[in-house]
């Protein structure tokens, strides 16, 4: 059985819409009854849950932004008034990673919410072919950042032997996962590469290990990075994407690996809109994800603007038989991580994709700065061995992909750039 939930994963689109609309009504009614924030925002927009009669009524629900959630948290500490349950009824507190420098969001979950988080991870676990009998190693620091916590519980639920790899350094994790015969490893793409580099340094043979599957999450992952990871590990990678704001994942890649991930549409509504105008965009067009989650009763999320950039394609793009639409290439970036350099758009994910075509490059960093004569410059700093052709080749590839924009390439000593276990921060914008 390739599906975790054959009933809904292969539902006709009409029936799937009916299921989503029914769940949407109950979660909107819950939010209205229980959350002061939603009562206010619904009233201000002239919206009431009873208006949800057909699919198009979804757009009557006001959009929610992260700034509004943060403001609510600041005005009604410690959790804000989106909250729809008494905090005394909650069982978990997790936070966002705080990579944007802002205060992290605090998200509460009830027992039921937490069970839902694990349930959604199970769609991914089962969908990529992991089964009872597998041994899963989570290369992740078990802290207050939500990270792979939900996957841990998903593995347990799916009947997979689960090894928490917290509170260890990279070398210890490699030795453990090899010694325990892990068949599955979960980490960010950045950390999967780092584990491979460290394994090479200490002489551990990952390709000869039992690992056959890597579950990646936490960062956009260009195909070139995946190819490097797969080559170093001798294993297949499966992309997933989640966010603290929903407490779990919204996307998973199935065993057919169509070059993107299925949206878990029986538990979520994912709209894609033009980030400037808010108008919906069609299949194949780049836009911002807007998520509505059905499963988190403590923090119902209705039409939340995620700032994730995605490109939705129809379910039929994949041959696996699921009727859930896909995001081609997973999450492609963030609306707020695009950099404008001398009139040219630069997306860090695109730069990473090109850097990863050069297998000798280890860690890298993108640095933007202003010259004394007030010109914007972009430098890619790389850790790489001496190679007379590398710098020029990389410079030409980057320029060709960016309308001829001049990139400076700077070779720096091995080990001098920051290392990341969770979300990598490789862009330093030091412009005046």
């Amino acid at each position: 059985m390739p599906y975790w939930n054959p009933k809904t994963e292969t539902l006709s689109r009409d029936r799937l819409r009916a299921l989503q609309l029914s769940k949407l009504r109950s979660v909107a009614t819950w939010a209205q009854a229980r959350s002061p924030f939603y009562r206010r925002s619904f009233a201000a927009a002239g919206f009431a849950p009873e208006q949800l009669r057909g699919w198009d009524d979804l757009r009557r629900i006001p959009l929610l932004t992260r700034d509004e959630w943060m403001a609510s948290q600041a005005q009604h500490p410690p959790y804000g008034d989106l909250l729809a349950v008494d905090p005394a009824r909650a069982s978990r507190l997790h936070t966002t990673s705080g990579t944007t420098g802002a205060d992290p969001l605090r998200a509460l979950d009830t027992r039921s919410d937490w069970a839902w988080a694990a349930e959604l991870w199970c769609y991914a676990i089962w969908g990529c072919g992991i089964r009872p009998g597998d041994i899963a190693y989570l290369a992740f620091g078990y802290g207050s950042f939500i990270g792979f916590w939900g996957l841990h519980y998903g593995f347990e639920k799916a009947g997979v032997l689960t090894i928490p790899g917290g509170a260890q350094n990279t070398e210890q994790r490699i030795r453990q996962l090899v010694a325990f015969g892990a068949t599955v490893v979960a980490s960010t793409p950045t950390y999967a590469l780092r584990l491979a580099q460290e394994a090479a340094r200490i002489g551990a043979d990952l390709r000869g290990s039992a690992v056959r599957t890597l579950i990646l999450s936490g960062e956009p992952c260009p195909p070139q990075t995946r190819a490097l990871i797969e080559d170093a590990w001798g294993a297949r990678t499966f992309d997933t994407a989640g966010m603290t704001e929903i407490g779990t994942i919204f996307l998973f890649e199935c065993a057919d690996r169509p070059g993107g991930g299925h949206v878990i549409e029986d538990h979520l509504i994912e709209e894609v809109a033009d980030p400037e105008t808010g108008d919906p965009v069609g299949y194949g067009e780049l836009g911002e994800r807007i998520v509505t989650s059905f499963g988190r009763s403590a923090v119902p999320l209705l039409r939340y603007r995620t700032a994730d950039l995605v490109r939705k394609v129809p379910a039929g793009t994949c041959s696996c038989g699921r009727t859930f639409d896909l995001y081609e290439g997973g999450v492609l970036g963030r609306t707020d991580d695009m950099k404008l350099v001398r009139g040219t758009n630069v997306y860090p994910r695109a730069v990473e994709g090109i850097v990863r075509e050069f297998a000798s490059v280890g860690e890298f960093q993108i640095r933007l700065f202003t010259t004394p004569d007030l010109r914007d410059e972009i430098t890619v700093r790389i850790e790489a061995p001496e190679d007379p052709d590398l710098l020029g080749d990389l410079r030409r590839r980057l320029a060709a992909a960016h309308e001829g924009l001049r990139f400076q390439i700077e070779r720096v000593p091995g080990g001098s750039l920051p290392r990341f276990e969770l979300k990598a921060r490789r862009v330093v914008d030091a412009r005046a």
């Binding site: 009916a18 029914s22 769940k23 069970a115 059905f294």
Partner: protein, 62 residues
């Protein structure tokens, strides 16, 4: 009985929904901690089954 998509429930779904309903009822009873905690934990799990199968969808502060 029909699910949220309008399908007739299967015999297994009818039994799963009955378990869910029984746990909801028990969660409202004045049980000893040993039973109350286990019932709440079980209800959190069965709610995923009935929710994922599209039988019912009932947000709950449990």
């Amino acid at each position: 009985m029909r699910d949220l998509m309008g399908n007739e429930l299967t015999p297994h779904e009818i039994r799963l929904l009955a378990v869910h309903r029984e746990l909801v009822a028990l969660a409202g009873e004045p049980l000893a901690p040993v039973a109350a905690a286990g019932v709440r934990a079980a209800l959190a799990q069965i709610a995923q089954v009935t929710g994922s199968l599209g039988l019912v969808h009932e947000p709950r502060d449990l």
